[in-house]
């Protein structure tokens, strides 16, 4: 069989539709993941024994199991347990939220705890409540240290969406497989799919580098 790159053009609209689904799952998932991760990380770093334990169990549960198992659980097992219906798309977004949230929590915890304890005490000593010290003093400092590992996690999560092929979400990888099934153009189609992933992760990398450069790292 000849390699014929022109066949890709026929499938561009379909591939773009798949890429859009991938982008949607990634963005929605990461917004939730950042929120959950920030909460979890702060609970780990500053919470009392109970909050700390809750966050610890969540993080270890997620980090100790594969994301494919997590999304299978959300899509197939949770409906049985909780008697609710969940569509594949929601299961996919939820899986990224829950999964990236655990890793982001560890990143947030590390960044906040890397800021000198003395600065936290200086904030408390002028009479600020702990939450204001975190918001106005420690947070802005920790944020600068957060960007590189956070960027890394964003890229990992984006690529993880390809695993949701197992619950039949029409994201980019699944789209590639469907096209393949119709025309058997493996080289052309998988090359095209890989290039689209590279463009997506590359865009993320450039965006993060730009943010990083704009900030004074202290």
């Amino acid at each position: 069989m000849q390699v014929d790159w022109s066949v890709i053009f026929d499938y561009i609209p379909q591939l773009i539709a798949g890429a859009k689904v991938t982008i949607y799952i990634t963005l929605a998932g990461l917004i939730g993941g950042v929120i959950i991760g920030t909460l979890g990380g702060l609970m780990r770093a500053y919470g009392g024994r109970i909050l700390n334990s809750i966050a610890f169990v969540y993080i270890e549960l997620i980090r100790g199991t594969p994301i494919v198992v997590q999304v299978m659980f959300l899509y197939f097992a949770l409906p049985v347990l909780a008697n609710i219906r969940i569509d594949p798309m929601s299961a996919a977004v939820l899986a990224i939220v829950v999964n990236s949230g655990a890793y982001i929590a560890e990143i947030v915890r590390g960044a906040f705890l890397s800021i000198s304890k003395g600065l936290n005490e200086a904030g408390l000593a002028i009479g600020m409540p702990q939450w204001k010290v975190l918001l106005y003093i420690i947070g802005p400092l920790a944020f600068r240290r957060l960007i590189p590992p956070l960027g890394n996690q964003f890229i990992v999560s984006l690529k993880d969406t390809s695993l949701f092929i197992v619950i039949g979400v029409g994201e980019l990888t699944r789209t590639g497989q469907e096209i393949m099934a119709a025309n058997f153009r493996a080289v052309e189609i998988w090359t095209a799919v890989a290039v689209i992933y590279l463009v997506l992760t590359g865009t993320m990398t450039v965006a993060l580098r730009t943010i990083e450069k704009r900030m004074r790292i202290l």
Binding site: G118, A125, I126, G127
Partner: protein
């Protein structure tokens, strides 16, 4: 009632008892100098006053409020009792003026313009009128410590706690910080100062405390106590710091 009252105050870290049934009363306008060997509990005693350490026995009253009355009351105490740290602990992402203004802004609820104006006046008072827009990394140690004093003053405390404010400084930078502290004392500020600067203790201090193993073993007039140490361990200690 005294301004600060330790009542059989104890502090343990796990099995390690650092403060042992301390009884101590400090009045307004006193300049108390606290000395003692490393590890004797000086920092811990100071940090119990503003609740950076939680006492584990007895009670500790600051301006009529017990440190055991909970978070909200503790924040009131912290507004009454400012602290200056050995390592300055200035906020690195803020200019000198912002470091000083953040207390009034976020604690006293002062408006932005007013907080800045007060900050500039305080920085002028500690001799840094020309450094207000500098970041901590652009200042010498002595200048950073003076910003830290201005930051503590900005919240309008009734007492300032100094934990070895000159120990991290090169000898030639210490005097500028000590001069600011002397000025504060002359203005009538109540101060508790952990330091090894014996000339400061003699000239500015109104009272000298010597601490050993979590207990205050000598309490007297700085001049008298330094010239005629009432116990051998203090005599020995003074020979080593001179």
């Amino acid at each position: 009632m005294s301004f600060i009252e330790f009542k059989k105050t104890s502090k343990s870290f796990g099995p390690l008892t650092i403060l042992k049934d301390v009884d101590l009363a400090i009045d307004v306008r006193e300049v108390v100098v606290l000395i003692g060997p490393s590890g004797s509990g000086k920092s811990t005693l100071l940090r119990c006053i503003n609740g950076l350490e939680t006492i584990t026995g007895g009670d500790l009253i600051v301006d009529g409020i017990s440190v055991k009355e909970g978070h909200a009351r503790l924040r009131e105490i912290r507004q009454e009792a400012g602290m200056v740290f050995q390592q300055f602990n200035l906020f690195p992402q803020m200019t000198a003026a912002q470091n000083v203004a953040i207390g009034p802004r976020r604690v006293r609820g002062t408006g932005k313009a007013q907080a800045r104006e007060e900050a500039l006046a305080l920085l002028a008072k500690v001799g840094l009128a020309d450094k207000t827009e500098h970041y901590p990394s652009e200042l010498s140690g002595g200048q950073q410590q003076r910003v830290a004093i201005a930051r503590a003053l900005a919240v309008k405390p009734k007492v300032i706690l100094f934990d070895e404010p000159t120990s991290a400084l090169d000898p030639e930078l210490r005097q500028e910080v000590l001069n600011v502290m002397r000025q504060l004392a002359e203005d009538g500020m109540t101060m508790v100062v952990v330091t090894h600067e014996m000339s400061f203790a003699k000239q500015v201090g109104t009272r000298l405390l010597f601490m050993e193993h979590g207990k205050i073993t000598v309490d007297g007039n700085p001049r008298d106590v330094i010239e005629n140490p009432p116990n051998d361990r203090l005599k020995d200690f003074l020979q080593h710091v001179h």
